[in-house]
């Protein structure tokens, strides 16, 4: 069901939305993270090339959560205020795998096309 979503969207939307989703899902693959952490990691790892504002990051997080790909939970750690951590759900893991595959295919295709063009 989760996959069908991607198949029913127009391609250009898929690219943008899909990329953001892939980034977020990847970042929480191995451990839960809170929103600010996710946003910092995206910024750091992309060398500042990709940035999410609060206004776009959180609606996306909530949407992934509503879809059942992420699970958010308030966690209290000693001496700190509680924070909301997002964890990948089994459904999210499948989506992540599928998206990774699609991306790989997509990037390879782009690469091939680009090389052909260079030639």
């Amino acid at each position: 069901m989760a996959i069908t979503y991607m198949e029913t969207q127009p391609a250009n939307l898929e690219w943008k939305k899909g990329s953001a989703e892939l980034l977020i899902l990847s970042l929480v693959e191995h451990r839960p993270r809170h929103g600010y952490e996710i946003s910092k990691l995206i910024e750091q790892r992309s060398g500042g090339a990709v940035r999410f504002h609060v206004a776009s990051l959180y609606p996306l997080l909530y949407r992934l959560e509503r879809r059942g790909w992420l699970q958010g939970r308030w966690v209290e750690k000693d001496g700190q205020r509680r924070r909301r951590y997002y964890r990948l759900t089994p459904a999210g893991r499948k989506v992540l795998a599928a998206q990774r595959r699609d991306w790989r295919l997509f990037v390879e295709a782009i690469g091939r096309v680009a090389e052909l063009d260079h030639a």
Binding site: Y5, H53, V54, S56, Y58, R66
Partner: protein, 916 residues
């Protein structure tokens, strides 16, 4: 540190999230912003720069809301999933709309409360009145095939309906071809009944042999009358009502030993009618009419006719059939019969009688009130819809289709209507509990008033109609919302269509209110007229003690009494009078055979002969012959009374003398006549000294010599002209079943001080005599109850409508002032005088009021005409009433406009101009 949460909350506000969810999001996002802020500080940025870096996260004002809107609105569903087709999709959509609507309403509790309460008031009042209409007018009579049941009357040449005389009844019964059965029955009359668990004054009705068959109901225990019980000198038998059987016969299954003493006879109880059987209304015991001899006269209209149409026969056929028989009787017996035709009316219609018009008028009033309430809520909704145009436009821009928005608005109005309906039912239940105190006690079908399935169906229909109406009004306005228009304009965007619609609604409200006010006005005036009519006596400080004569003192219906019997009765009554008079606080005590006004049908009336020297007719035929000459006859109410009656009630003696000691049992029987009778019958001569002869009015057929003339009373009701009355002395005539005797007591102490002593008097005399004590004022109140109920309920509705219309007008003008704050500010800045502003604002309300009042006046002229049958000495189109209500309504309307106008005057031009 900046207050991130406040910044975030401001951006979340348009979403209308639940408070918890909003707080949660704000907390999470605030932490993010704070993290960004602190990291920037840590990296060495100055505080201001760190702050802008964090704020940049929120990006432009509406982005966050736009991003969250679709996610948050979906609940746990996937909003982006393609809309599921079919019923489930619709249902989940409807559920979504429902929840969204609840949230929206919860966010404006003031609006929701005002709308729901207004609707509840309208729905509650109309449901309550509908429950009365349902019980009294709509519910079929509780008999098999009730549409076949008809009341039958003889009809006088002037069209007046008369009960059936014995020989005419027999002819109708034997000769008709359209009725499956025809029965005669008497009205109920109170009788002392001993032999049950305690002596009581119970209502008895005499019914003819086919009575129960006509109604299609039989005793559930025992049987109906047997042949032996249906003849003169046969076995005396009675059938008990379920209530009497339960209460006084201990619900005994074995009736064989049960005997009841009534009218000096012992009756076996042979049957018990099932619960709910109540015809004629109030009857506790039924006895066979055939047990008493028939009265041979064709003008002695004693029996109410009740028939059942033959299968396949129509009402018209029955009418024609009985009419033919009536004309045949007239042709055959000439002046011995006074009928010219027959009237046949469905029982349901006959039972309800005058009440129908009154109830329908009331229902009309309450429906108008309901419309006013709806118009008010529609006005509120319109104001709100214009205020929400921006929101709706944003939603439309975000992809919500027009159908989706309309559905959303419908869901909201459905929620309002349902909430109003539920609360309305609660209100209606409250009202139906209070109604018995207001409604006349003799309203037919009153016991059945309840919020039952039919009534709830009505409420449901009303609620759904309101929901659809309001939703469409809102949707119609919302549909006109142009996105760029709405977004571009300020919050006070002028929406002329919406204002126009609200004005129409308010003018309509004012018109409807005027109609209700006018109706209540003429009914109220009619009621006041009645109250101001003097009954002909002083009703204050009078107590009434209704009683049934002790069984031993009573006798057979209409059988002649012996002087010894009369003497025994008189002795008993005199003793009672003496003891009552001795009660401290009792000024005088008297006996009467009927209660003037209070018991309007309590007096028998009849034709008398003026003997003028002739001797008393020897037999009925001679009576008929003598009565042929109209100069020899008169017609009057017949009232048995004691001499003290006139002083006790304050009825003046005009000429002659009152009954006194010389009028003994053996002396010539005397009579007093009322002034009206003297004027009517003896306009040019002196009635005193005339001898009149009634025949058998009270088990006593001695002629009467007129010895005095007394003042008039409106015995038959305050709305009737003073009655011609012949008073006779109880000490000469005794009592009969034809009178409803009562003692009247003029007191100088409050009733509560007298009642126990009066009860003790009766108990000491004969513990078997049931007595019913009330004040005359209470008894009069009973007579006025119907008119009072009508006037009272109409006034309550009128008051409610007035308040609603005032609130509606106030809301409109206040909204308009708020909308025009800037304009008014500019005008004032440019030098407009306070008076000009006041005039402009009040003028808006006044124009609407004028239009509404004009329409309302025109409608009132038509509407109040429907009330004319219920009015006393006031015309339906009463100019005074209409002027007063129009003035009242205009004054209230001006006041409702003046309050917001004063607010307009306080507008500070500077502040107004600074806005937006």
């Amino acid at each position: 540190m900046p207050d991130w949460k406040e910044e975030i909350a401001r951006r979340l506000a348009p979403l209308g999230l639940g408070p918890e969810r909003e707080a949660e999001i704000a907390e999470e996002l605030a932490q993010h912003l704070e993290g960004r802020f602190e990291d920037a500080l840590a990296a060495g940025a100055p505080e201001a720069a760190a702050r802008s870096a964090a704020m940049a996260e929120l990006s432009d004002e509406s982005l966050l809301a736009r991003g969250l809107r679709r996610v948050e609105r979906s609940g746990t569903e996937n909003l982006d999933a393609p809309v599921k087709a079919g019923r489930l999709g619709f249902l989940s959509g409807a559920w979504r709309d429902f929840r969204y609507g609840v949230r929206k309403l919860a966010r404006s509790p003031g609006f929701a409360a005002a709308a729901i309460l207004t609707l509840a008031l309208g729905i509650g009042a109309s449901t309550a009145i509908f429950s009365v209409v349902d019980a009294v007018l709509l519910r079929p009579l509780p008999y098999p095939n009730p549409q076949q049941l008809v009341r039958v009357w003889e009809q006088a040449p002037n069209g007046r309906r008369m009960n059936l005389a014995d020989p005419n009844f027999d002819d109708f019964r034997a000769q008709n071809r359209t009725l499956a059965a025809l029965a005669g029955y008497s009205g109920v009359w109170p009788v002392s009944v001993a032999g049950g668990s305690e002596p009581v004054r119970a209502n008895v009705a005499a019914v003819s042999r086919d009575f129960f068959r006509v109604l299609g109901r039989q005793p559930f225990l025992g049987r109906s009358f047997a042949a032996d019980e249906l003849r003169v000198n046969g076995v005396r038998a009675t059938i008990a009502s379920y209530g009497y059987w339960r209460e006084y016969l201990g619900a005994a299954r074995d009736l064989s030993r049960v005997r009841l003493a009534m009218n000096g006879n012992l009756y076996s109880v042979v049957g018990v009618m099932p619960p709910g059987f109540d015809f004629p209304p109030g009857a506790a015991l039924w006895i066979a009419r055939e047990a008493d001899p028939e009265i041979p006269g064709r003008t002695a209209h004693n029996w109410r006719g009740l028939g059942r149409l033959r299968d396949g026969a129509t009402l018209e056929q029955a009418r024609a059939d009985l009419d033919t028989i009536a004309r045949r009787i007239r042709a055959e017996y000439g002046k011995q019969a006074d009928l010219a035709g027959a009237a046949v009316v469905p029982l349901a219609e006959a039972t309800v009688g005058d009440v129908r018009a009154a109830l329908l008028a009331l229902f009309g009033a309450v429906l108008l009130l309901f419309l006013v309430a709806c118009a008010n809520v529609a006005g509120l909704l319109l104001a709100r819809t214009s205020a929400r145009r921006k929101e709706l436009a944003v939603r439309a821009a975000l992809g919500a289709g027009r159908g989706r928005l309309v559905r959303q608005l419908l869901a909201e109005s459905l929620e309002l209507a349902v909430a109003g309906g539920v609360l309305g039912i609660a209100i209606a239940m409250g009202i139906t509990h209070l109604l018995p105190a207001v409604l006349p006690a003799d309203l037919p079908g009153q016991k059945g008033i309840a919020i039952n399935a039919t009534v709830l169906l009505f409420t449901l229909a009303a609620t759904l109609a309101v929901a659809a109406g309001l939703g469409l009004v809102a949707a119609w306005r919302a549909g006109g919302a142009d996105v760029s228009d709405a977004l571009g304009a300020g919050s006070r965007s002028y929406t002329s269509g919406s204002q126009w619609a609200r004005r129409t609604l308010v003018a309509g409200e004012i018109a409807a209110t005027l109609v209700i006010l006018a109706g209540a006005g003429v009914l109220g005036r009619s009621f006041l007229n009645l109250l101001s009519v003097s009954p002909g006596f002083r009703g204050q400080d009078l107590m009434i003690l209704k009683f049934s004569p002790p069984p031993s003192a009573s006798s057979l219906r209409f059988a002649e009494k012996s002087p010894r019997q009369i003497a025994r009765e008189v002795q008993f009554l005199d003793e009672a009078l003496a003891r009552l008079r001795a009660i401290p606080g009792a000024q005088s005590a008297a006996l009467t055979g009927g209660l003037a006004v209070a018991d309007a049908e309590g007096f028998p009336d009849g034709t008398f002969l003026i003997l003028q020297g002739q001797s008393v007719p020897a037999n009925y035929d001679q009576w008929i012959r003598m009565a042929q000459n109209p100069k020899n006859t008169g017609h009057a109410d017949y009232c048995v009374a004691s001499g003290e009656y006139f002083r006790t009630l304050g009825i003046s003696l005009i000429r002659g003398r009152i009954f006194d000691a010389q009028d003994g049992l053996d002396a010539p029987n005397v009579a007093l006549i009322s002034e009206t009778l003297a004027r009517q019958r003896w306009p040019h001569e002196d009635p005193i000294g005339q001898t009149i002869y009634f025949g058998n009015m009270d088990s006593n057929s001695k002629p009467l010599t007129i010895v005095g003339i007394v003042g008039d009373t409106r015995a038959e009701g305050l709305d009737q002209p003073p009655s011609p009355i012949v008073y006779v002395d109880f000490r000469q005539r005794g009592l009969s079943v034809n009178v409803s005797p009562a003692f009247v007591l003029r007191t100088s102490l409050p009733a509560s001080a007298i009642v126990p002593a009066a009860r003790a008097v009766f108990h000491a005399l004969d513990p078997n005599i049931p007595v019913q004590i009330s004040t005359y004022a209470e008894a009069l109140g009973g007579w006025l109850a119907e008119r009072r109920a009508l006037a009272l309920l109409a006034s309550v509705f009128a008051g409610a409508a007035l308040v609603l219309a005032a609130v509606g007008l106030y809301g409109l003008v206040a909204h308009s002032v708020a909308r025009r704050t800037q304009e008014i500010g500019i005008r004032m800045a440019l030098g407009a005088q306070r008076g000009d502003v006041l005039l402009a604002v009040v003028g808006e309300g006044a124009r609407l009021a004028a239009i509404g009042v004009a329409i309302g006046l025109a409608a009132s002229l038509a509407a109040t005409r429907l009330l004319s049958s219920m009015l006393f000495e006031v015309k339906a189109a009463d100019r005074l009433t209409l002027s007063v209500v129009a003035a009242l309504l205009s004054a209230v309307a001006l006041l409702a406009s003046y309050i917001p106008a004063r607010r307009a005057l306080r507008i500070d031009p500077i502040v107004a101009l600074r806005q937006e």
